[in-house]
């Protein structure tokens, strides 16, 4: 199994883990992923709860036969697309450069 790492690999991982670069990468990743997860879960559950227990609000007509319930559903699609796009932007600009640098360091260290 290649799942077992060599001592050299283990040391390289440990060293990288201790660097400021890595701590910053982890902070930036979690700083986006965790709040975003909480946000979309709350927003989705709000939708589920409204569908169940706020019938008066959900049936409010907006335009023609389009009511709040329908719009709320469409907004769930929109928010999903939006969060996905924001994460992609964040990952490209704030995560990938550090991750790439650390990956290179690891390769050099282990190749020696």
């Amino acid at each position: 199994m290649t799942d077992k790492t060599t001592t050299q690999q283990h040391q390289a991982y440990e060293r990288i883990h201790a660097t400021d670069d890595f701590q910053e990468l982890r902070r930036r990743y979690r700083g986006f992923a965790f709040p975003a997860t909480v946000a979309f879960m709350v927003w989705y559950l709000l939708f589920v709860v409204s569908a169940n227990w706020l019938p008066g609000f959900m049936k409010t007509p907006l335009v023609g036969n389009v009511n709040v319930a329908f719009m709320f559903g469409i907004l769930q699609f929109a928010s999903t697309f939006l969060i996905a796009w924001l994460y992609a932007r964040h990952a490209n600009s704030a995560l990938d450069p550090i991750a790439g640098r650390l990956d290179d360091e690891y390769r050099q260290e282990v190749a020696q």
Partner: protein
């Protein structure tokens, strides 16, 4: 279904449909043969040499995910229950954010072929692999049943025959094809089948959607109004409550339970997880999910038009309604026929046959993905690492996977023949509940919790799995109600159809409890390694070159 004109129309239609079915079969078999020439190593067989691009994999993920339950089941539920059917698709889409934000990239960097690889990285191999493999096979079998039941119903409609012998024949045929794709084509063949299917499905759905919207001058409000009128349910058809609200408070809690399983299940579905291994980097895994979110989101938006369109244009309420009789599964194909010109017209026949072929391709692609997933887990986790403790050659391992695919396919065929009365979207919801309760807690803890241990991992998987399956067993799904699997028995004490609201917290609870009661130094020490590897890709499996 009487009258000679109808019968003749149907005959022409049958020929056309069967021809298109055979075309789908021929194309997919060719792909399988072509892909098989490159299958040499385990990385080829399980992960297609990690050589697919992000966009290709995004298409394949969509092809793997948008099952017959999406295509036939959701539009059918909308056609019958209006707004409440639409609730399904929202959960199915939002769920992808869990995969995007928390799972896809980290998993790509830290695993090799199966879901268990990622756990085995810092845990004791044998117990976690056994557990993860068990839940992989259970989830995949639930999901497989849903797909194959859909295949039976579909062909019954297309040939205008309601013969159990024919339905069973179709199930056997689909099963045989999926066994061929998986044993010969491996992941590369399966992926291409899924890509072709995704393109067919998106094009077919777009075509019918445009034709439906044309009838309503591209005015959504007009479409909704027509659906509300035609069903005789009025505005209630456009509001929540017809499906879940009708059963009072319990129905509402059941709905919350379903919603949780849908949103948390996707990122724990083994057949989705292993797709992330088919790309060369974590960045490509991210692109795959972004692409999949775009495709799947657009598809579910279109199912709104299909579902409400079927409600507006077809008979969904009368005693003789074929849509109601099929639990909604026939709404999309019949709608295609109607917007193509109606029953008996050439356009109607062509569209019906076309959509049927798309649905057929859909089923084939998804069942292949599921069979490959179970076979991979069986061969890689159980056979190679648990039973043989890693002492197998790549060739032996791939052979074991092929034999496993054959056995799993056969079991699925036999089980499907007995599960034909259940709505397929509902069967899929059960698979999601197990994935959310058993797999997701272990994956999340493993990635983000330093003190997680081997015992925690096995307890969360077995705890979540047994809670979800056990609660369903004692629910009205299995006994005690008119539409239960065993309508004549009654041992149901759990009132909800969906176990998620209890079983998901239980999965997380057991994982926490196991880790706290049995601390384990080795898995804690490996967490730094896993963190670096999952976030930076350092030391991750690379693509192989041919």
């Amino acid at each position: 279904m009487t009258g000679t004109v109808l019968a003749q129309g149907q005959q022409g239609n049958q020929t056309l449909t069967v021809t298109l079915f055979l075309a789908v079969v021929a194309v997919t078999l060719y792909i399988t043969w072509w892909a098989s020439r490159k299958n040499q190593t385990t990385a080829d067989y399980y992960a297609a040499g990690r050589s697919f691009s992000g966009v290709q994999n995004g298409l394949a993920i969509s092809g793997d995910y948008m099952s017959a339950a999406s295509f036939l089941g959701i539009s059918g539920l909308i056609a019958l229950y209006g707004y409440d059917g639409f609730l399904y698709s929202i959960g199915f889409l939002v769920a992808w954010l869990v995969a995007l934000l928390l799972v896809a990239e980290l998993l790509r960097n830290s695993g090799r072929f199966t879901m268990a690889d990622q756990l085995a990285y810092r845990m004791r191999q044998r117990p976690v692999r056994t557990a993860a493999s068990t839940s992989t096979v259970v989830v995949s079998i639930f999901y497989l049943l849903a797909q194959m039941v859909g295949a039976g119903a579909l062909v019954g409609l297309l040939l205008g025959v309601d013969s159990p012998v024919l339905k069973n024949g179709v199930i056997v045929l689909v099963g045989a094809l999926m066994i061929i794709y998986v044993t010969i084509g491996g992941m590369r063949g399966t992926t291409w089948v899924q890509i072709v299917k995704a393109v067919l499905l998106m094009s077919g759905t777009l075509l019918v959607t445009v034709l439906v919207l044309m009838k309503f001058n591209f005015n959504i409000s007009e479409l909704l109004g027509a659906a509300a009128n035609a069903t005789g349910k009025g505005q209630a058809f456009l509001e929540p409550g017809l499906l879940y609200g009708a059963k009072g408070f319990l129905g509402q809690v059941d709905f919350v339970s379903l919603a949780l399983a849908l949103v948390l299940g996707t990122a724990g579905l083994p057949h989705i997880l292993i797709r992330f291994y088919t790309v060369p980097t974590s960045k490509a895994a991210r692109t795959s999910v972004l692409c999949a979110i775009g495709l799947i989101g657009s598809f579910y938006l279109m199912t709104i038009a299909l579902g409400f369109g079927a409600a507006a244009l077809l008979d969904t309420t009368s005693e003789t309604s074929r849509i109601a009789d099929s639990g909604g599964n026939l709404a999309s194909p019949l709608l295609a026929e109607a917007v193509g010109g109606g029953e008996g017209s050439v356009g109607g026949a062509v569209l019906l046959a076309l959509i049927a072929a798309v649905a057929f391709a859909t089923i084939l692609a998804v069942v292949a993905g599921l069979t490959l997933t179970s076979a991979s887990s069986f061969a890689h986790d159980l056979y190679a690492n648990v039973i043989k403790r890693g002492a197998v050659s790549e060739k032996q391992e791939v052979n074991a996977a092929r034999i496993a695919a054959f056995c799993i396919g056969t079991v699925a065929i036999v089980l499907s023949i007995y599960a034909q009365r259940l709505n397929i979207a509902f069967l899929v919801a059960l698979a999601f509940a197990v994935a959310a309760s058993a797999n997701l807690p272990a994956l999340i803890y493993n990635l983000f919790w330093r003190r997680f241990t081997t015992t925690g991992a096995t307890w969360s998987i077995y705890g979540g799995l047994l809670s979800a399956v056990g609660l369903v067993f004692f629910s009205p799904v299995v006994s005690g109600a008119e539409n239960s699997l065993l309508p004549n028995a009654d041992f149901a004490w759990f009132p909800l159809n969906n176990p998620g609201i209890i079983s998901i917290p239980l999965g997380f609870f057991f994982g926490w409890l196991g880790a706290v009661l049995f601390p384990d130094r080795a898995s804690r020490d490996k967490h730094n390694e896993l963190e670096v590897r999952s976030l930076t890709g350092a030391g991750a499996e690379a693509a192989i070159q041919h």
